[in-house]
Amino acid sequence: MRFFRYILPILFLLPMSSIRAQERTVTIKASATVVDKTELELVTMKDLDIDASTAVNGKVYVSAQRDTKSALMIVKGKVNASFRVTFTPLVEIPNSTGKGSLLIKYEMVGSQTDNQSASEPIDAAERTLKISSEGRYYFWLGGQIDISNARPGKYNGNFTIEIEYI
């Protein structure tokens, strides 16, 4: 009996270590990706050249992959880093001096090397690409330009492209 007098109180203590509050918990993640401002740069090397004299049925087509009139942009960034690119594929540019507008349906191709004909099509949806071992990625921009509603005047528009590290 003396044995139980010592052991029983200890046995009562042991289950306490397994008591847990009956709460409900959930954990969510807080996150942020910080980029170095100097690391990712987009440089326009050549603008898109639209020659209205080549229009067929009111439309001028500049092939991004084959035409020398396509625009050229270079991404300079961290070697072998992945990045995401998106762009606005359809833009209407109004005549800044009168009536009329241009409707441009952009097409874009890209490559890790300065080789336009070997480039691959980039669609407007979010796309993941990789910067080359030289820290470059090349984009060529062309598209179909509808000039059927255009009137003589001055047309200035922007092509919006967003790139960011992943």
Partner: protein
């Protein structure tokens, strides 16, 4: 030593030995504890500051506001006749190896009682807690009459409590990002604990 004293001394020694394995914990002695409470993050279960500002650079600060699309929502389901206590703890920094960015979390609660409120409705109506609060108690459904709610029906086999739904909105401030912060992915955890109030 007297024989009657000896067991007491041994008991005290046992206490000391067990103390080495003790863990800090909060024990709820409430009748309902946390039973039947369901916590569900809605959406991506992440407070991603890049959703508010895609490119975050050194020296910048980013604030996700309550009504922003980037704020996170947690749905709480449980006994409608109970009050609940929500406690939130978060890392004071988002971390990437040895780089740290200050993080300050804020939260709001929604208990307006709408059947299936939209995210926008939850965020617009949720009541913000003052900065610095990390634990608060509120009823599942806001009492609009001003009359105290009746006491909860005791648990018995013939009674099923009606279920209520409330929401927590999590948001906050990041930064300023230190000027020498390494570029990359920073992260930290936000822990949310909910239990029935024991008042």
């Amino acid at each position: 030593m007297k024989p009657t004293i000896r067991p007491i001394v041994l008991l005290l020694i046992s206490f000391l030995l067990l103390n080495g394995h003790a863990m800090a914990q909060r024990i709820s002695f409430g009748l309902y504890a946390g039973e039947g409470i369901l916590l569900e993050p809605m959406g991506l279960a992440e407070l991603n500051f890049n959703t508010k500002q895609p490119l975050i650079f050194a020296s910048q600060s980013v604030s996700i506001l309550k009504q922003d699309q980037a704020s996170a929502i947690i749905r709480i389901t449980g006994r409608l006749d109970q009050e609940i206590t929500a406690s939130i703890s978060a890392s004071p920094t988002l971390d990437l190896n040895t780089s740290h960015i200050p993080l300050s979390i804020r939260f709001a609660y929604y208990n307006a009682g709408a059947a299936s409120p939209s995210d926008n409705e939850i965020k617009a109506t949720a009541i913000e807690l003052p900065l610095g609060f990390s634990s608060f108690t509120f009823p599942f459904k806001k009492n609009l009459t001003g009359i105290p709610a009746p006491p909860p029906t005791p648990i018995n086999s013939n009674y099923t409590s009606p279920q209520g739904t409330a929401y927590l909105v999590i948001y906050g401030n990041l930064g300023p990002v230190p000027s020498d912060a390494a570029a990359g992915y920073y992260n930290g955890d936000i822990n949310i604990r909910v239990e029935y109030a024991t008042n």
